[in-house]
């Protein structure tokens, strides 16, 4: 590597770090992303001038094909489908890293026998992690897209067979490191890693996909870092490591927000698809209110906190909800949104969905920022959310929700819930908040209900 290339890669690394630093505020985030892209461009251009590159046919073809697909995906994707897209992109990054590692082995040819142990180890790990990321991410994306069912696919001895598979792959990597001339080992490693990618993600339920996507994000970075070791390329190591840590941190945040350990998410096989009404055995009464009652309540409220859940996005009611919020703000009321970390289908997803509906980001408050304000709030308006406001999480020790941090909606003067039915949420736990005296249940489709409210308020 000549001096210019080395410095260009250093510059790219610095731009990546600066870019990520600027993501700390929505004001600078967009420029930060640009900086990252600039860093990438510099790295690519410098690489193209590398003296090892002698044939540009495949490079140009690859850049054009990949660029076109990437552009189309980015422009076309709906914000609700963002988790699938990010999942797929993670997979592509992992897959590319695995292929580079393999290509490097083929390039070495017979000289692989003289390669350092470090190169061989990271080559094997890069192949394993990259391939696993590719196939795991594709399964996760397919589950999110609904191409395959979101329900956990379980079979006997699943954990044991996966553990065995992983062990076999590791043994094969060790054999490969001991004797790198055994070229037939690599395709077997790739094949087994592919199977492991599939079998380790299919037992995970659709509701847990945010965790899987975050974890795959981390893996894709790690695969890149491993490839960096193989190629002795520091920019790959730095960028890959940054992404690896980012993914792990997000994974951790998601697990905490769901009150689950990573092991529980990965191996417990919980988190089913939306099921039909789970037998409503208890005949507790809820008080049904009409949109007129709700509109009256809102008109007389001074402060409103809106709690959106994914049901809001399913009903495509974000835009009309923002119309309702603007109307209330125009009347001098304080309106804010309380966003639970698992409100969407990936970390931060709900914020993007609401930003798309022109909700100003300074009205979007995270749980810790707003949870103390509920007690001084007139109306907590819950739309399409359930588990994240279920008070059972605080005290009911036998509940699957127990210990999960929730939004203190029940501390507000009045709780207004827009919901299709009384069906429990993902956790299958009945929500006692719905039966509370101060709760107004307004049944119906979220979009229709909110549209009705907007019209009533305009009168």
């Amino acid at each position: 590597m000549n001096v210019i290339t080395a410095f260009a890669y250093l510059l790219a690394s610095v731009l990546f770090i600066l870019g990520l630093m600027m993501l700390s505020s929505p004001k600078t985030a967009r420029r930060g992303n640009m900086l990252g892209a600039t860093g990438m461009l510099i790295a690519i251009v410098v690489t193209l001038t590398d003296q090892r590159v002698i044939d540009y046919t495949y490079i140009i073809a690859g850049l054009i094909i990949g660029g076109t697909i990437g552009l189309t995906l980015a422009v076309r994707v709906k914000m609700t489908a963002m988790p699938q897209l990010v999942g797929m992109l993670n997979g592509f990054g992992g897959g590319a890293s695995a292929m580079v590692a393999y290509a490097e082995y083929l390039r070495m040819g017979d000289s692989a026998a003289f390669a350092g142990v470090d190169v061989l180890i990271t080559m094997g790990l890069g192949l394993l992690i990259g391939t696993l990321t590719f196939f795991g991410s594709m399964i996760a994306a397919a589950k999110l897209q609904g191409t395959i069912g979101g329900a956990p696919v379980l079979y006997p001895l699943q954990k044991q067979s996966n553990a065995l598979l992983l062990l076999v792959v590791v043994v094969l990597i060790v054999l490969f490191v001991l004797d790198p001339s055994k070229s037939y080992l690599l395709p077997i490693i790739i094949g087994l890693a592919a199977i492991l990618g599939v079998t380790s993600v299919i037992p995970i339920g659709g509701a847990d996909m945010p965790v899987v996507i975050s974890l795959m994000n981390s893996y894709s970075g790690l695969a890149g870092a491993m490839t960096g070791f193989v190629l002795s390329n520091n920019v790959l190591i730095i960028a890959g490591t940054l992404v690896g840590t980012s993914g792990i941190i997000l994974t951790n945040i998601m697990c905490k927000a769901m009150n689950r350990s990573l092991g529980n998410v990965l191996f417990a096989g919980v988190g089913t698809d939306y099921q039909g009404p789970a037998a409503e055995t208890e005949q507790r009464t809820v008080v049904r209110y009409t949109p007129d009652d709700a509109a009256f309540m809102l008109e007389n409220a001074q402060s409103v906190i809106i709690i959106p859940g994914y049901g809001l996005a399913v009903a495509q009611a974000q835009h009309v909800l923002q119309e309702l919020a603007s109307n209330l703000i125009a009347r001098g009321k304080t309106v804010r949104y309380a966003i639970h970390p698992v409100a969407g289908r990936m970390p931060g997803h709900m914020n993007v969905l609401l930003a798309e509906a022109n909700v100003p980001y300074d009205l979007l408050l995270e749980m810790d920022q707003i949870n103390d304000d509920f007690q001084n709030t007139d109306v907590a308006l819950i739309i399409g959310a359930n588990d994240v406001v279920n008070p059972a999480a605080r005290y009911k020790k036998d509940s699957p929700l127990y210990g999960m941090p929730i939004l203190n909606a029940d501390f507000a003067q009045t709780v207004m819930v827009c919901k299709r039915s009384l069906n429990p949420g993902f956790a299958g736990e009945d929500n006692e908040l719905f039966y509370n005296k101060k709760t107004m249940m307004v049944f119906g489709d979220a979009k229709a209900t909110v549209t009705g409210l907007v019209q009533l308020l305009k009168q």
Binding site: I44, I54, N90, M346, H349
Partner: protein, 103 residues
Amino acid sequence: MTETLMVSIYIFVLATFVGVEIISKVPPLLHTPLMSGSNAISGITLVGSLIAAGEGHAQLSMYLGLAAVILATINVVGGFLVTDRMLGMFKKQPTKNVEEQKK
């Protein structure tokens, strides 16, 4: 242990600390763009793909390189563009309303 490897390990370890430090400062508001944007950055593996695709050594290695270039480019182009698209949606409230909110 070679010196190159030692340096690489240093970089790996230090980058982990930098990563933790920076990423924990990103607010949950921006976690989705963080994911898609960092994802695009992990497309840096494109650098390796380009060399594999352009070296003109073994045919198979170049085909692998081509496939890797395609996947990594989708990752890079798609990732940065979609992040930009998302971040473009994040707007602050017009100042007039902010005053009202603050009261």
